[in-house]
Protein backbone atom coordinates (compact mmCIF):
# COMPACT_ATOMS: atom_id res chain seq x y z
CA UNK A 1 0.00 0.00 0.00
CA UNK A 2 2.70 2.49 1.05
CA UNK A 3 5.22 1.52 -1.65
CA UNK A 4 2.85 1.98 -4.64
CA UNK A 5 1.64 5.29 -3.18
CA UNK A 6 5.24 6.51 -2.82
CA UNK A 7 6.01 5.30 -6.36
CA UNK A 8 2.99 7.21 -7.68
CA UNK A 9 4.00 10.35 -5.74
CA UNK A 10 7.55 10.09 -7.16
CA UNK A 11 6.16 9.79 -10.70
CA UNK A 12 3.93 12.85 -10.17
CA UNK A 13 6.88 14.91 -8.86
CA UNK A 14 9.18 13.76 -11.72
CA UNK A 15 6.46 14.62 -14.24
CA UNK A 16 5.91 18.03 -12.63
CA UNK A 17 9.65 18.81 -12.68
CA UNK A 18 9.94 17.75 -16.34
CA UNK A 19 6.92 19.81 -17.44
CA UNK A 20 7.47 22.89 -15.23
CA UNK A 21 7.55 26.08 -17.33
CA UNK A 22 10.38 28.60 -17.17
CA UNK A 23 8.32 30.88 -14.94
CA UNK A 24 7.85 27.96 -12.50
CA UNK A 25 11.62 27.56 -12.19
CA UNK A 26 11.97 31.33 -11.79
CA UNK A 27 9.40 31.38 -8.98
CA UNK A 28 11.09 28.41 -7.28
CA UNK A 29 14.47 30.16 -7.50
CA UNK A 30 13.06 33.34 -5.89
CA UNK A 31 11.41 31.29 -3.13
CA UNK A 32 14.60 29.31 -2.44
CA UNK A 33 16.66 32.52 -2.34
CA UNK A 34 14.29 34.00 0.27
CA UNK A 35 14.29 30.78 2.32
CA UNK A 36 18.10 30.60 2.21
CA UNK A 37 18.38 34.25 3.24
CA UNK A 38 16.03 33.65 6.18
CA UNK A 39 17.82 30.49 7.29
CA UNK A 40 21.41 31.67 6.85
CA UNK A 41 21.18 35.32 7.93
CA UNK A 42 21.53 34.52 11.67
CA UNK A 43 24.69 32.49 10.91
CA UNK A 44 26.39 35.55 9.40
CA UNK A 45 26.62 37.05 12.91
CA UNK A 46 25.48 40.46 11.80
CA UNK A 47 23.85 42.03 14.89
CA UNK A 48 20.51 43.73 14.32
CA UNK A 49 21.40 46.84 16.30
CA UNK A 50 24.87 47.33 14.77
CA UNK A 51 23.84 48.20 11.25
CA UNK A 52 24.04 51.98 11.65
CA UNK A 53 26.98 53.54 9.82
CA UNK A 54 28.00 57.19 9.52
CA UNK A 55 27.30 57.03 5.78
CA UNK A 56 23.67 58.08 5.24
CA UNK A 57 21.73 57.60 1.96
CA UNK A 58 24.81 56.09 0.26
CA UNK A 59 24.66 54.57 -3.22
CA UNK A 60 25.42 50.83 -3.55
CA UNK A 61 29.14 50.04 -3.09
CA UNK A 62 31.45 47.12 -2.18
CA UNK A 63 31.02 47.94 1.53
CA UNK A 64 27.21 48.33 1.33
CA UNK A 65 25.88 46.17 -1.55
CA UNK A 66 22.47 47.88 -1.71
CA UNK A 67 23.62 51.19 -0.21
CA UNK A 68 22.42 52.75 3.06
CA UNK A 69 19.11 54.37 4.02
CA UNK A 70 18.53 57.87 5.45
CA UNK A 71 19.54 56.66 8.94
CA UNK A 72 22.77 55.08 7.67
CA UNK A 73 21.51 51.48 7.94
CA UNK A 74 22.85 48.88 5.51
CA UNK A 75 19.93 48.06 3.18
CA UNK A 76 21.26 44.61 2.15
CA UNK A 77 21.55 43.42 5.75
CA UNK A 78 18.18 44.82 6.67
CA UNK A 79 16.71 42.96 3.70
CA UNK A 80 18.35 39.69 4.79
CA UNK A 81 17.24 40.05 8.41
CA UNK A 82 13.72 41.09 7.37
CA UNK A 83 13.30 37.90 5.32
CA UNK A 84 12.93 36.01 8.61
CA UNK A 85 9.90 38.14 9.50
CA UNK A 86 7.80 36.80 6.65
CA UNK A 87 9.22 33.31 6.07
CA UNK A 88 8.04 32.16 9.52
CA UNK A 89 4.43 33.45 9.34
CA UNK A 90 4.23 32.49 5.64
CA UNK A 91 5.29 28.88 6.33
CA UNK A 92 2.94 28.68 9.32
CA UNK A 93 0.03 30.01 7.21
CA UNK A 94 0.76 27.38 4.51
CA UNK A 95 0.86 24.62 7.13
CA UNK A 96 -2.41 25.76 8.74
CA UNK A 97 -4.10 26.13 5.30
CA UNK A 98 -3.00 22.63 4.28
CA UNK A 99 -3.77 21.14 7.70
CA UNK A 100 -7.33 22.54 7.72
CA UNK A 101 -7.99 22.67 3.97
CA UNK A 102 -7.21 19.03 3.18
CA UNK A 103 -9.63 17.45 5.72
CA UNK A 104 -12.33 20.07 5.06
CA UNK A 105 -12.02 19.60 1.29
CA UNK A 106 -12.08 15.81 1.70
CA UNK A 107 -15.21 16.02 3.87
CA UNK A 108 -16.94 18.38 1.41
CA UNK A 109 -16.17 15.92 -1.37
CA UNK A 110 -17.12 12.82 0.63
CA UNK A 111 -20.40 14.09 2.05
CA UNK A 112 -23.37 14.71 -0.16
CA UNK A 113 -26.52 16.76 0.32
CA UNK A 114 -27.08 19.68 2.71
CA UNK A 115 -23.96 19.03 4.84
CA UNK A 116 -21.68 19.32 1.82
CA UNK A 117 -23.59 22.40 0.58
CA UNK A 118 -23.29 24.05 4.01
CA UNK A 119 -19.54 23.35 4.17
CA UNK A 120 -19.02 24.76 0.67
CA UNK A 121 -21.13 27.80 1.56
CA UNK A 122 -19.05 28.42 4.70
CA UNK A 123 -15.80 28.15 2.73
CA UNK A 124 -17.26 30.49 0.08
CA UNK A 125 -17.99 33.05 2.80
CA UNK A 126 -14.41 32.78 4.12
CA UNK A 127 -12.99 33.19 0.60
CA UNK A 128 -15.21 36.24 -0.05
CA UNK A 129 -13.18 38.35 2.40
CA UNK A 130 -9.93 39.53 0.77
CA UNK A 131 -6.92 38.51 2.91
CA UNK A 132 -5.49 42.03 2.87
CA UNK A 133 -8.75 43.44 4.20
CA UNK A 134 -8.57 40.99 7.11
CA UNK A 135 -5.00 42.13 7.85
CA UNK A 136 -6.00 45.80 7.85
CA UNK A 137 -9.07 45.00 9.95
CA UNK A 138 -6.75 43.25 12.41
CA UNK A 139 -4.67 46.44 12.57
CA UNK A 140 -7.86 48.43 13.27
CA UNK A 141 -8.71 46.12 16.17
CA UNK A 142 -5.28 45.45 17.69
CA UNK A 143 -3.21 48.43 16.48
CA UNK A 144 -0.11 48.24 14.30
CA UNK A 145 2.57 47.56 16.92
CA UNK A 146 4.45 44.28 17.37
CA UNK A 147 2.30 41.40 18.68
Amino acid sequence: MIRPTLRMLGAVIRDGVRRAPLVGWLGTAVLLAVLLAALLSPLAGYPVGADVTTARSEAPSAAHWLGTDHLGRDVFWRLLLASRAFVGPGSLACAVAAGLGVPIGALAGWWTGPASQALRGALGAVAAIPALVLVVLGCARFGTGPV
Binding site: L134, V136, C139, A140
Partner: protein, 318 residues
Amino acid sequence: MSPGRRWVRLVALRLLGALGTVAGATALLLALLFLAPGDPIDTIPNGEALRPQLTEQFGLDRPPAVRWAVRLGRALVFDLGTSYVYRPGAPVAEVVARPAVRTVGLVAAACALAVGLGGLLAGITAGRRSALRPLVQAGSLVATFVLADVLVSGINDATWWALQAGWIERPAWFALPDQASLVRSALAVAILAGGSGTLAEVHAELEDALVRIRSSPWVDAARARGRVPWGAVLRAMVPAIASTLSDRAALLVGGALVVEHVLLMRGVGDILWQAARLRDYDLALAIALLSAVLVAGTRLLAEAATLLVDPRLRGAAR
Protein backbone atom coordinates in the same frame (compact mmCIF):
# COMPACT_ATOMS: atom_id res chain seq x y z
CA MET B 1 -42.25 24.14 -15.24
CA SER B 2 -42.31 26.90 -17.86
CA PRO B 3 -38.96 28.39 -19.06
CA GLY B 4 -39.85 31.76 -17.48
CA ARG B 5 -40.47 30.21 -14.05
CA ARG B 6 -37.29 28.13 -14.36
CA TRP B 7 -35.30 31.32 -14.95
CA VAL B 8 -36.92 33.08 -11.99
CA ARG B 9 -36.12 30.07 -9.78
CA LEU B 10 -32.51 29.94 -11.02
CA VAL B 11 -31.94 33.67 -10.44
CA ALA B 12 -33.60 33.53 -6.99
CA LEU B 13 -31.41 30.58 -5.93
CA ARG B 14 -28.23 32.31 -7.08
CA LEU B 15 -29.19 35.57 -5.34
CA LEU B 16 -29.92 33.67 -2.14
CA GLY B 17 -26.52 31.99 -2.44
CA ALA B 18 -24.78 35.38 -2.78
CA LEU B 19 -26.74 36.76 0.20
CA GLY B 20 -25.75 33.67 2.21
CA THR B 21 -22.09 34.30 1.33
CA VAL B 22 -22.32 37.91 2.55
CA ALA B 23 -24.19 36.83 5.72
CA GLY B 24 -21.48 34.20 6.39
CA ALA B 25 -18.69 36.73 5.76
CA THR B 26 -20.35 39.18 8.19
CA ALA B 27 -20.64 36.43 10.82
CA LEU B 28 -16.96 35.57 10.38
CA LEU B 29 -15.82 39.20 10.62
CA LEU B 30 -17.91 39.78 13.74
CA ALA B 31 -16.75 36.47 15.28
CA LEU B 32 -13.11 37.55 14.82
CA LEU B 33 -13.88 40.83 16.57
CA PHE B 34 -15.91 39.17 19.37
CA LEU B 35 -13.02 36.80 20.06
CA ALA B 36 -10.53 39.67 20.28
CA PRO B 37 -9.92 41.21 23.68
CA GLY B 38 -11.65 44.54 24.45
CA ASP B 39 -14.52 46.20 22.61
CA PRO B 40 -15.13 49.20 20.33
CA ILE B 41 -15.48 51.55 23.32
CA ASP B 42 -11.76 51.03 24.07
CA THR B 43 -10.95 52.77 20.77
CA ILE B 44 -13.07 55.89 21.44
CA PRO B 45 -11.47 58.88 23.18
CA ASN B 46 -13.02 59.27 26.68
CA GLY B 47 -14.98 56.06 25.99
CA GLU B 48 -14.47 54.71 29.53
CA ALA B 49 -16.26 57.69 31.07
CA LEU B 50 -19.31 57.07 28.86
CA ARG B 51 -19.15 53.24 28.92
CA PRO B 52 -22.70 52.53 30.23
CA GLN B 53 -24.38 54.81 27.69
CA LEU B 54 -22.16 53.63 24.80
CA THR B 55 -22.68 49.95 25.69
CA GLU B 56 -26.43 50.45 25.37
CA GLN B 57 -26.12 52.65 22.27
CA PHE B 58 -23.90 50.11 20.42
CA GLY B 59 -25.98 47.16 21.65
CA LEU B 60 -22.89 45.54 23.20
CA ASP B 61 -25.01 44.09 26.05
CA ARG B 62 -26.91 41.90 23.56
CA PRO B 63 -25.90 38.31 22.67
CA PRO B 64 -23.48 38.00 19.67
CA ALA B 65 -26.12 36.29 17.45
CA VAL B 66 -28.57 39.18 18.01
CA ARG B 67 -25.84 41.73 17.25
CA TRP B 68 -25.02 39.84 14.03
CA ALA B 69 -28.68 39.75 12.96
CA VAL B 70 -29.18 43.45 13.77
CA ARG B 71 -26.04 44.45 11.85
CA LEU B 72 -27.06 42.31 8.88
CA GLY B 73 -30.59 43.74 8.89
CA ARG B 74 -29.24 47.29 9.00
CA ALA B 75 -26.75 46.54 6.20
CA LEU B 76 -29.67 45.43 3.99
CA VAL B 77 -31.09 48.99 4.21
CA PHE B 78 -27.58 50.51 3.72
CA ASP B 79 -27.18 51.45 7.39
CA LEU B 80 -23.50 50.55 8.00
CA GLY B 81 -23.11 52.24 11.39
CA THR B 82 -21.40 55.47 12.39
CA SER B 83 -17.82 56.67 12.03
CA TYR B 84 -16.45 57.60 15.46
CA VAL B 85 -12.93 58.82 14.68
CA TYR B 86 -12.35 59.30 10.90
CA ARG B 87 -15.38 61.62 10.56
CA PRO B 88 -17.02 61.68 14.00
CA GLY B 89 -20.78 61.21 13.92
CA ALA B 90 -21.06 60.72 10.14
CA PRO B 91 -22.95 57.68 8.85
CA VAL B 92 -20.47 55.16 7.41
CA ALA B 93 -22.65 54.71 4.27
CA GLU B 94 -22.26 58.43 3.56
CA VAL B 95 -18.47 58.32 4.15
CA VAL B 96 -17.84 55.35 1.84
CA ALA B 97 -20.50 55.84 -0.90
CA ARG B 98 -18.51 57.94 -3.41
CA PRO B 99 -15.10 56.33 -2.73
CA ALA B 100 -16.75 52.90 -3.15
CA VAL B 101 -17.92 53.89 -6.64
CA ARG B 102 -14.30 54.81 -7.52
CA THR B 103 -13.00 51.49 -6.16
CA VAL B 104 -15.63 49.52 -8.09
CA GLY B 105 -14.63 51.49 -11.21
CA LEU B 106 -10.96 50.65 -10.63
CA VAL B 107 -11.69 46.92 -10.21
CA ALA B 108 -14.00 46.89 -13.25
CA ALA B 109 -11.42 48.70 -15.39
CA ALA B 110 -8.68 46.26 -14.28
CA CYS B 111 -10.96 43.32 -15.20
CA ALA B 112 -11.69 44.88 -18.60
CA LEU B 113 -7.98 45.47 -19.25
CA ALA B 114 -7.06 41.92 -18.18
CA VAL B 115 -9.75 40.42 -20.43
CA GLY B 116 -9.00 42.70 -23.41
CA LEU B 117 -5.22 42.44 -23.30
CA GLY B 118 -5.24 38.80 -22.13
CA GLY B 119 -7.57 37.90 -25.02
CA LEU B 120 -5.39 39.73 -27.53
CA LEU B 121 -2.21 38.04 -26.26
CA ALA B 122 -3.96 34.65 -26.18
CA GLY B 123 -4.96 35.16 -29.83
CA ILE B 124 -1.29 35.74 -30.67
CA THR B 125 0.25 32.95 -28.59
CA ALA B 126 -2.38 30.15 -28.62
CA GLY B 127 -0.93 26.95 -30.09
CA ARG B 128 2.43 28.58 -30.91
CA ARG B 129 5.84 28.89 -29.28
CA SER B 130 6.06 32.53 -28.20
CA ALA B 131 8.37 34.64 -26.04
CA LEU B 132 5.30 36.63 -24.94
CA ARG B 133 3.99 33.78 -22.77
CA PRO B 134 6.87 33.60 -20.22
CA LEU B 135 7.03 37.40 -20.26
CA VAL B 136 3.37 37.73 -19.20
CA GLN B 137 3.79 34.96 -16.59
CA ALA B 138 6.99 36.50 -15.19
CA GLY B 139 5.17 39.85 -14.83
CA SER B 140 2.57 38.16 -12.63
CA LEU B 141 5.30 37.08 -10.16
CA VAL B 142 5.77 40.68 -9.01
CA ALA B 143 3.45 41.51 -6.12
CA THR B 144 0.94 44.35 -6.62
CA PHE B 145 2.41 46.56 -3.90
CA VAL B 146 5.98 46.12 -5.19
CA LEU B 147 4.92 46.89 -8.77
CA ALA B 148 2.96 49.96 -7.62
CA ASP B 149 5.80 51.28 -5.48
CA VAL B 150 8.54 50.69 -8.08
CA LEU B 151 6.54 52.21 -10.96
CA VAL B 152 5.36 55.24 -9.00
CA SER B 153 8.78 55.91 -7.47
CA GLY B 154 10.46 55.39 -10.85
CA ILE B 155 8.15 57.73 -12.77
CA ASN B 156 8.09 60.37 -10.00
CA ASP B 157 11.88 60.32 -9.49
CA ALA B 158 12.60 60.44 -13.23
CA THR B 159 10.17 63.34 -13.75
CA TRP B 160 11.49 65.23 -10.72
CA TRP B 161 15.06 64.71 -11.93
CA ALA B 162 14.16 66.01 -15.42
CA LEU B 163 12.39 69.01 -13.85
CA GLN B 164 15.39 69.82 -11.65
CA ALA B 165 17.76 69.49 -14.61
CA GLY B 166 15.61 72.01 -16.50
CA TRP B 167 14.88 69.53 -19.30
CA ILE B 168 11.10 69.77 -19.00
CA GLU B 169 8.45 72.07 -17.55
CA ARG B 170 6.09 70.65 -14.90
CA PRO B 171 3.86 68.35 -16.98
CA ALA B 172 0.08 68.62 -16.58
CA TRP B 173 -0.17 65.00 -15.39
CA PHE B 174 2.34 65.53 -12.54
CA ALA B 175 -0.58 65.88 -10.10
CA LEU B 176 -0.55 66.53 -6.37
CA PRO B 177 -1.77 63.66 -4.15
CA ASP B 178 -5.27 65.08 -3.68
CA GLN B 179 -5.80 65.92 -7.36
CA ALA B 180 -7.47 63.64 -9.87
CA SER B 181 -5.00 62.41 -12.47
CA LEU B 182 -5.67 60.37 -15.60
CA VAL B 183 -2.09 59.01 -15.66
CA ARG B 184 -2.36 57.85 -12.05
CA SER B 185 -5.70 56.15 -12.74
CA ALA B 186 -4.31 54.42 -15.85
CA LEU B 187 -1.24 53.33 -13.88
CA ALA B 188 -3.46 51.96 -11.09
CA VAL B 189 -5.56 49.94 -13.55
CA ALA B 190 -2.47 48.49 -15.27
CA ILE B 191 -0.78 47.62 -11.94
CA LEU B 192 -3.93 45.96 -10.60
CA ALA B 193 -4.53 43.92 -13.77
CA GLY B 194 -0.88 42.80 -14.03
CA GLY B 195 0.25 42.65 -10.40
CA SER B 196 -2.74 40.65 -9.15
CA GLY B 197 -1.88 37.93 -11.68
CA THR B 198 -5.29 38.36 -13.36
CA LEU B 199 -3.77 39.25 -16.74
CA ALA B 200 -1.51 36.17 -16.73
CA GLU B 201 -4.36 33.93 -15.56
CA VAL B 202 -6.84 35.24 -18.17
CA HIS B 203 -4.15 34.87 -20.84
CA ALA B 204 -3.38 31.25 -19.86
CA GLU B 205 -7.06 30.25 -19.58
CA LEU B 206 -7.98 31.88 -22.89
CA GLU B 207 -5.00 30.23 -24.61
CA ASP B 208 -6.27 26.82 -23.47
CA ALA B 209 -9.84 27.70 -24.45
CA LEU B 210 -8.75 28.90 -27.92
CA VAL B 211 -6.73 25.74 -28.56
CA ARG B 212 -9.76 23.62 -27.52
CA ILE B 213 -12.19 25.69 -29.62
CA ARG B 214 -9.96 25.62 -32.73
CA SER B 215 -9.78 21.83 -32.65
CA SER B 216 -13.52 21.32 -31.98
CA PRO B 217 -15.70 19.67 -34.66
CA TRP B 218 -18.14 22.59 -34.98
CA VAL B 219 -15.29 24.98 -35.87
CA ASP B 220 -13.94 22.45 -38.41
CA ALA B 221 -17.42 22.18 -39.94
CA ALA B 222 -17.79 25.97 -40.15
CA ARG B 223 -14.33 26.30 -41.70
CA ALA B 224 -15.21 23.65 -44.28
CA ARG B 225 -18.13 25.86 -45.28
CA GLY B 226 -15.68 28.73 -45.68
CA ARG B 227 -16.55 30.89 -42.69
CA VAL B 228 -15.40 31.29 -39.09
CA PRO B 229 -18.25 31.66 -36.54
CA TRP B 230 -16.63 34.48 -34.52
CA GLY B 231 -19.76 35.08 -32.43
CA ALA B 232 -19.88 31.45 -31.30
CA VAL B 233 -16.09 31.42 -30.67
CA LEU B 234 -16.38 34.49 -28.42
CA ARG B 235 -19.35 32.96 -26.57
CA ALA B 236 -17.36 29.75 -26.03
CA MET B 237 -14.61 31.84 -24.36
CA VAL B 238 -17.00 33.42 -21.82
CA PRO B 239 -16.90 30.51 -19.28
CA ALA B 240 -13.07 30.64 -19.15
CA ILE B 241 -13.11 34.43 -18.57
CA ALA B 242 -15.93 34.23 -16.01
CA SER B 243 -14.28 31.41 -14.05
CA THR B 244 -10.93 33.25 -13.90
CA LEU B 245 -12.46 36.56 -12.80
CA SER B 246 -14.58 34.73 -10.22
CA ASP B 247 -11.47 33.03 -8.78
CA ARG B 248 -9.49 36.28 -8.80
CA ALA B 249 -12.24 38.52 -7.37
CA ALA B 250 -10.90 38.55 -3.80
CA LEU B 251 -7.32 39.22 -4.98
CA LEU B 252 -8.51 42.04 -7.24
CA VAL B 253 -10.52 43.73 -4.49
CA GLY B 254 -7.68 43.34 -1.95
CA GLY B 255 -5.18 44.59 -4.55
CA ALA B 256 -7.37 47.62 -5.32
CA LEU B 257 -7.25 48.64 -1.65
CA VAL B 258 -3.43 48.46 -1.69
CA VAL B 259 -3.05 50.27 -5.02
CA GLU B 260 -5.33 53.09 -3.84
CA HIS B 261 -3.26 53.47 -0.70
CA VAL B 262 0.12 53.43 -2.50
CA LEU B 263 -1.02 55.78 -5.30
CA LEU B 264 -2.85 58.12 -2.87
CA MET B 265 -6.17 57.63 -4.68
CA ARG B 266 -9.39 58.57 -2.90
CA GLY B 267 -11.15 55.21 -2.88
CA VAL B 268 -12.31 53.00 0.01
CA GLY B 269 -8.79 51.49 0.17
CA ASP B 270 -7.35 54.75 1.43
CA ILE B 271 -10.19 55.15 3.94
CA LEU B 272 -9.70 51.57 5.17
CA TRP B 273 -6.03 52.20 5.95
CA GLN B 274 -6.88 55.44 7.73
CA ALA B 275 -9.69 53.70 9.64
CA ALA B 276 -7.16 51.04 10.69
CA ARG B 277 -4.65 53.67 11.80
CA LEU B 278 -7.29 55.61 13.73
CA ARG B 279 -8.92 52.35 14.94
CA ASP B 280 -12.33 53.46 13.61
CA TYR B 281 -13.92 50.07 14.27
CA ASP B 282 -17.30 50.47 12.52
CA LEU B 283 -15.84 52.13 9.43
CA ALA B 284 -13.18 49.42 8.92
CA LEU B 285 -15.75 46.67 9.47
CA ALA B 286 -18.17 48.25 6.97
CA ILE B 287 -15.43 48.45 4.31
CA ALA B 288 -14.52 44.80 4.94
CA LEU B 289 -18.19 43.94 4.47
CA LEU B 290 -18.36 46.01 1.26
CA SER B 291 -15.30 44.10 -0.05
CA ALA B 292 -17.09 40.80 0.63
CA VAL B 293 -20.20 42.14 -1.18
CA LEU B 294 -18.05 43.16 -4.15
CA VAL B 295 -16.41 39.72 -4.30
CA ALA B 296 -19.78 37.92 -4.00
CA GLY B 297 -21.26 40.24 -6.66
CA THR B 298 -18.39 39.52 -9.07
CA ARG B 299 -18.88 35.78 -8.57
CA LEU B 300 -22.63 36.13 -9.12
CA LEU B 301 -22.09 38.04 -12.37
CA ALA B 302 -19.50 35.50 -13.55
CA GLU B 303 -21.93 32.65 -12.86
CA ALA B 304 -24.77 34.48 -14.60
CA ALA B 305 -22.59 35.06 -17.69
CA THR B 306 -21.61 31.38 -17.80
CA LEU B 307 -25.24 30.23 -17.44
CA LEU B 308 -26.36 32.65 -20.15
CA VAL B 309 -23.95 31.30 -22.76
CA ASP B 310 -24.07 27.60 -21.84
CA PRO B 311 -27.52 25.94 -22.02
CA ARG B 312 -26.07 22.63 -20.74
CA LEU B 313 -25.11 24.28 -17.42
CA ARG B 314 -28.57 25.86 -17.17
CA GLY B 315 -30.05 22.40 -17.39
CA ALA B 316 -27.66 21.03 -14.76
CA ALA B 317 -28.24 23.96 -12.38
CA ARG B 318 -32.05 23.50 -12.19
